[in-house]
Amino acid sequence: MGEGRELGETHKMGLDETREMAADETHKTKADETYKREAESVAGDPLEERIARLTPEELKKALRVFREKINSEYAAYLNSCVHCGLCAESCHYYLADGEIESIPAHKLNLVTGVFKKYFTSAGKTIPRWVGAKEFDQETLREWVDSLFGRCSLCGRCSLNCSIGLNIPYLIRAARSAMVSLDLVPPGLQSTVNTAIQKGNNMGIPKGEWIETVQWLEGELRSEVGDSKAKLPLDQKGAKLLYTVNPREPMFFPLSMAAAGKLFYAAGESWTFSSENYDVTNYGFFSGDDEAAATISDRLVKSMEELSCKTLVLAECGHGFNSNRWEAPEWLGKKYGFEVKSILEIVADYVSKGRIKLDPSRNPDVVTLHDPCNLVRLGGIVEEQRYILKRSAVNFVEMTPNREKNFCCGGGGGQLAMTNFAERRLKAGKVKADQIRTTGAKVVVAPCHNCIDQLMELNKHYKLGVEIKTVCEVVANALVMSGSGERAS
């Protein structure tokens, strides 16, 4: 992740083969990065070196940044933890390793300790008594290890908190302070940098993107038998602007093709942008509000330039949370257009009869993974269920599910932070066990970060399942009305 790659090889292959290639490529990429990372750690941990070199002025600056990120809501949360410890079992990290450092209350303590020390009278006068912490190198070591390395910002602890503290947002505020100290783990930071510098998080050149869209358009035409079928690019005045995760054109063209086929079948007015199509926003994960705002603003600009009415976000959990809920706050403005998940759009097609589905085309047992940023933090809870129950014969729920779901372990930037890869896989055991219990052959995950993690869990825990997006399952069940040409 975070580096440009050639697309040519993908183009030469059939759509089905690319799925396998994607899995291998994901592993290869991660293995390469892990190797690189291990080599680096032998030579010296760059974050540790950075921490050792921090000056008092830099620490003061970071503390100022931390203060700026704290609003009255966060301050109220930071004043309210009672250390009841009931959050422990809500965290997949703690369930996997049983370490104190993985308990959400402990992670939060690292943040509240600093808050108390510098921003409360008790913390200033009787610091040890109330658990206040100096903001120094030692604390920062703990912050990096726990707030980056043991948290996927999934928010499950918040729903289980006896008070109701919004723990992931407090941890993100602390990550923001680490951004100002260049203490973001290199893999995550390089993904943010690539998105800022190259316009998408995988550094796909514009020409390659356009070529991929055209290639998929050809595939769509032959599949639906309509030479006028289109995957429109830069169509001004289209109703929907559709965005994708750059992993789709790179490794998962099936997902893009599936969405295109659904739009075609519904006779939708829609378009891609040739410039800004990346739904992801790793600035959300790193805590870099400035970068996050820059990345999200590109989609806003495309919406304005193309005069579209609805920004439609592909199946990407954090992309949805970022662009639907957080970006208006980062940019400090109310949008003049709607922001919707592709799942809301497809559910609407199904309910209004704009597309016809034959669930018997998906005969295997299908289960659904709820991406945290889409469901618990995003509010897209029932749409995917409504769709899948009409697209597959045998749909079974995981337990727990919906807003109570367990994180797969791939969120919070974990997939990009290869230095914590071992922990991520271990923490994913909870999800692997959930999947195994369902007996499903197909796991549907409306999020490409989750898909990457689930693919790794699939291999690591030998689950023997197939992993798909919602649109892929729907596209497979799609009954085209006639085989002829249609106006699109």
Binding site: Y77, V130, G131
Partner: protein, 221 residues
Amino acid sequence: MPLLLRYGVAISFFICVAILSSEIVSTLAFGKRSRCAQPKSSGLRGVLYVFGRGMMPWEKESATKHPLTYFAGVAYHAGIFAALFYLFCVALFMGLGALTLSLLRLLLILGFFSGSGLLMRRALSSRMRKLSSPDDYASNLIVDAVLVLASIDTYFGSATHFGSVTHLASTTWLLLLVSIIMFLYIPFGKIRHCFFFFYVRVLVGQFYGRRGVLPPRPHEA
């Protein structure tokens, strides 16, 4: 002296409220969080949920996995509210009927044993010890002391002397004294969460309510 102690309770209570109010003001000074994103659902519905059904043990996995702790917490807090009510009745010379007194006594005793149980859980579990600061123990101890003294006082103390300005039972004496210490301690320790709790619940209710996460939507059959 009895009157002085009663004044002491009132004064320490007002000091507590004044300091906590200033804490609230300094919290608000951190600035309002912007709300530019269009809500999907109603923040108010979320707030109503978190203060209602959302407090029920079956709604939270953390409560269903730890039912004893959950119910101890509920009993502890019910006891605290009973103690505060009792304390103000004593301080303000308000008489209590036998039935009310019995109910208060029950809540106070349950609250004391629950609070002591939670304190033991904190002290005996290595996980809880590592999460705790001295303040966690002190806050629990001081509240437990108020609960036990109030419980005893319902038997021996102010129940018979509510109207007396000049005489106080020794248990009432102790209760008022410890209460003064508690009120003066509240703004500096974790007991101040009592002030922030309701605000935080409103915030979290609004957060999930606006996003359409809470209350959970009815499931399709």
